[in-house]
């Protein structure tokens, strides 16, 4: 038995119970309402507030020659509009640019909590948030497709592949249905969740591992904890890359699903 490392707030071998976040407001603990005020929801509120305040401040008095803040806000929106919406969906994509930008920035900010000290976990490491985000994109691309092509035509294009003998539809339509209307939202949610969750575990393993090794009686193991901490720092930079990439991938895939829904045939 090693000595219980002192600087850890949680119980030392962390368990799944650490993901049952309790209410930040002590009097609400145990009630249903209490779950509305946890560390997770606090981070989401904070992220949303930061985004709203940033864009309000940046556009408070827009100038023809932009200020630094306005330039930043405009270039982020411009990046998503030109780099994602226009490039993937085409000219029609511009009207989806506000949604895509919002999703991109929301995921970017909430993901960033994974590497910000004292937060150290992203709300997206909790499957509930990616599920809602994926559902939003899911509803968006179906509604966009139905409005563009009409209900019957949209499902005909998506479920019945042209140019194959009709008996095969019995075999192929279920596959089309699952791949378009089930796999897409599921993979969208799971990809974001799993990336953020795995990143969190990775950082935990190296940080807590380092602390545990430091508490060891063996001098050699104690020395090796330096390597563990170094790895934690390297992994934090790696995590930063994942944070940005996953926000981009989510936006990109949403755009490509919208593009697929708008296309007359694929």
């Amino acid at each position: 038995m090693s000595v219980q490392p002192a600087p850890l707030a949680a119980d030392f071998p962390p368990g799944t119970g650490d993901f049952d976040f309790t209410s930040l407001i002590p009097s609400l603990r145990g009630s249903d309402l209490g779950l509305a005020f946890t560390k997770m929801t606090f981070m989401v509120w904070l992220g949303v507030a930061l985004l709203i305040i940033f864009f309000l401040v940046a556009y408070r008095s827009p100038k023809l020659v932009p200020t630094k803040r306005q330039w930043l806000a405009e270039s982020v929106y411009g990046f998503v509009r030109d780099g994602v919406a226009k490039e993937v969906i085409g000219r029609e994509g511009i009207r989806f640019a506000p949604y895509l930008t919002t999703v991109f920035l929301f995921i970017l900010v909430t993901n960033s909590f994974a590497i910000i000290p004292f937060f150290q976990i992203s709300p997206n490491a909790h499957i509930a948030y990616p599920i809602i985000l994926a559902l939003l994109s899911y509803v968006l691309f179906i509604v966009a497709g139905v409005r563009k092509q009409g209900f019957v035509q949209y499902f005909k294009v998506n479920l019945f592949m042209p140019g194959i003998p009709w008996p095969l539809y019995f075999l192929i339509t279920p596959i089309e249905f699952i791949s378009t209307f089930l796999m897409r939202p599921v993979t969208l949610a799971v990809r974001l969740f799993a990336n953020m969750f795995a990143g969190h575990l990775m950082l935990l393993v190296f940080t807590l591992g380092g602390v545990a090794m430091l508490g060891s009686a063996n001098f050699f193991i104690k020395g090796l904890s330096v390597a563990s901490f170094a790895m934690a720092i390297i992994m934090t930079f790696f995590e930063f890359m994942v944070v940005v990439l996953q926000a981009y991938v989510f936006t990109m895939l949403t755009a490509s699903y919208v593009e697929g829904a708008l296309a007359e045939q694929h």
Partner: protein, 70 residues
């Protein structure tokens, strides 16, 4: 890190890849699932229905991918 999409450069290829992968997985999943249900329902021994279903789903998915992109 399931997606190694490089920004901007390979959009059509990456999208086609995602579609192909999704089709393959759903093909195997759907007909493998149906096969497994048949196993359970009819009491077929040795997961025979599951195996046949997965192979059938794979074949169908390949057919769809070839039809779509070939």
């Amino acid at each position: 890190m399931t997606d190694k999409q490089s920004p901007r450069s390979s959009e059509p290829g990456a999208n086609a890849g995602m579609v192909a992968l999704g089709t393959l997985l759903s093909g195997i999943l759907v007909w493998g699932g149906v096969g497994a249900l048949m196993d359970w329902w009819l009491g077929i021994p040795k997961h025979f229905g599951l195996l046949v279903g997965m192979v059938l789903g794979l074949a169908l998915a390949l057919y769809m991918i070839i039809k779509r992109f070939g």
